[in-house]
């Protein structure tokens, strides 16, 4: 009796949350896969007809937005690594007793709504706003110069909004680096650059991987930055999916695009994981 109960315990523990995830996460995903193969319209309803050509059609129409999303996501992720790494390095190795204060400052933006922060940048970067208006009145910029509604503006917003997700995992990885290993490399006649490149940097890679995962996926599927800071030339795949749902009511195309986006991101993540070696990835995934 007791043994049976002990064997059932983990299932009972998993059940409530597991059911929630199964009903509201797994089943909708499977259902959406079937939606992507349906044909019909909102008024008459949609029927499953295994209409695979929706995928080709959707890709043909929206490959620009898909590629743009991936490029924006990649550039923003690369910028995040470049900005975050030196910062995380300094906080982890030189932060001393103020480490947690720095981390707190980096987390402060999360106390303000994502949408509100992005609007704040829209206000900053507007054509006659605080930055451009001042520079224009000093004659340092031509009067018709604008930042909003350009690719750099959207990439700027993405980099800003997802930067903390890159700093934290890199910091955690660097913080775990055993300082005596670095000392040992110096004792073995490594100079500072070698000590960093061959000891510290490889040990911090799981953190970089976790950071890339937490930055690249949300950045390339985001549409808030593109809507607020971008223009019609900068729409991303997220904008298209949202538009297909709410404006065009073309559910099969929206579902097909969602799956294409997921597939591309998954392939990207897995080939990236392969390149880094699987052990690092498991470590990073386990936190």
């Amino acid at each position: 009796m007791n043994r049976l109960r002990a064997r059932l315990t983990p299932y009972l523990l998993v059940m409530p949350g597991g059911l929630w995830l199964a009903i509201f996460f797994v089943i909708p995903m499977v259902y959406m896969l079937s939606v992507s193969l349906m044909t019909g319209n909102v008024i008459d309803g949609f029927k499953l007809t295994f209409h695979f050509s929706t995928y080709g059609h959707a890709l043909g129409l929206y490959h620009d937005q898909l590629i743009r999303s991936l490029i924006y996501g990649l550039i923003a992720t690369a910028l995040c690594i470049g900005i975050a790494y030196p910062m995380a390095y300094w906080i982890a190795f030189r932060g001393g007793s103020r480490k947690s204060t720095f981390l707190f400052l980096i987390l402060l933006p999360f106390f303000v709504s994502f949408v509100l922060r992005t609007i704040s940048w829209q206000f900053f970067l507007s054509d006659n706003g605080l930055v451009l208006g001042t520079l224009k009145s000093w004659g340092m910029l031509p009067a018709d110069f604008s930042v909003l509604a350009t690719s750099p503006a959207v990439i700027f917003g993405l980099t800003y909004n997802f930067l903390p997700f890159m700093v934290l995992p890199i910091y955690v990885a660097l913080e775990r680096v055993d300082q005596s290993l670095v000392e040992a490399s110096y004792d073995l006649y490594a100079n500072k650059v070698q000590g960093f490149l061959r000891v510290v940097f490889p040990l911090s890679l799981p953190g970089v991987f976790a950071g890339v995962l937490m930055t690249f996926v949300p950045a390339s599927s985001d549409y808030i930055n593109a809507s607020i800071l971008g223009g019609p030339e900068n729409t991303m795949i997220g904008n298209v999916i949202q538009n297909q749902y709410f404006v065009a009511s073309n559910y099969p195309t929206a579902a097909a695009l969602s799956f294409i986006l997921m597939a591309v991101l998954l392939i990207g993540i897995f080939s990236y994981a392969r390149a880094l070696g699987t052990e690092d990835v498991l470590e990073a995934a386990a936190g």
Partner: protein, 277 residues
């Protein structure tokens, strides 16, 4: 233990070896990035005091406190904030409970299906928000479920559970099972052991998971916008206002939430510090 002793000697060694200029450059970089991160918040707070005339709050026109007294000028904005707060609170409690149980099972037991549970947890954390929101809406549409407060809550619990699971699982893995065995040996029942031994040790992780759920929920725009129907939350209201002009009351509420959040976080840190002493 060895890492703790290393930590205390750690700052001395590199400082001695490295030229100070390199450290100073990194310090300047760090502070510049922090200023960049905080700039929009400073502007938000500053413009909550702006004596603007129209509904567009984007040029400085003088200092005033009046918007703090006129929060009710947009009753639907206050309603949206209340929706956001109650949904975030319920999400923290429900996702906190469900995620804790899964985290406990994954960290403590070996069972068939633990691999699948891990996979779903990881997938729910890494799936793009647009895709999660859109797929949930597809299902609600086909089943004719009316979208509103309840569907927002369902969606928020769905994307928060995994974060609590991961936090609690990490904590469970560091717990010493001998403590629970000792309680059982001393005659405590399974339930008593859980209540008096396991739960208090897990509490910091459960609290962290719950707070994370609260933060994710109150700030979510994308998934909410897919499943909200005609119910409005704080981020949805702000989004809607970008077309007609964001009134200063949005800055006021943003500032109040920011201050409350910072005070809560600082209070939590001080409380933890006092308790550890």
């Amino acid at each position: 233990m060895s890492t703790a002793t290393l930590d205390t000697t750690e700052p001395a060694a590199p400082v001695r070896r490295r030229p100070p200029r390199q450290g100073r450059l990194l310090a300047i970089w760090t502070w510049l990035v922090i200023i960049w991160l905080l700039l929009p918040i400073a502007v938000m707070i500053l413009f909550s005091f702006n004596d603007t005339k129209g509904r567009f709050n984007n040029t400085w026109q003088g200092f005033t406190f009046k918007w703090y007294g006129q929060l009710n000028a947009y009753p639907d904005l206050v309603g949206a904030l209340l929706n956001s707060l109650t949904i975030a609170l319920l999400t923290a409690v429900i996702a906190g409970a469900l995620g804790t149980l899964i985290g406990l099972a994954l960290g403590r037991y070996r069972f068939r299906g633990s691999g699948a549970t891990n996979l779903v947890t990881f997938a729910a954390i890494s799936a793009p928000e647009v895709v999660m929101g859109a797929s949930l809406l597809s299902m609600f549409l086909s089943l004719n479920v009316p979208r509103g407060y309840l569907t927002i809550l369902i969606a928020h619990v769905m994307f928060s559970v995994s974060f609590v699971t991961v936090t609690v699982r990490a904590r469970v893995l560091t717990l010493d099972p001998a403590l629970e065995e000792a309680a059982r040996d001393l005659g405590a029942s399974a339930v008593t052991t859980f209540r008096l031994v396991t739960l208090p040790m897990l509490f910091p992780a459960i609290l962290a998971g719950g707070l994370l759920s609260f933060a994710l929920s109150i700030d979510d725009y994308i998934i909410t916008s897919f499943n909200s129907g005609s119910t409005i939350t704080f981020p949805l209201w702000i989004w809607g206002s970008t077309r007609t002009g964001t009134p200063p009351q949005v800055n006021v509420l943003g500032t109040l939430i920011f201050v409350a959040g910072v005070l809560l976080a600082l209070g939590n840190v001080l409380w933890a510090r006092r308790r550890n002493r």
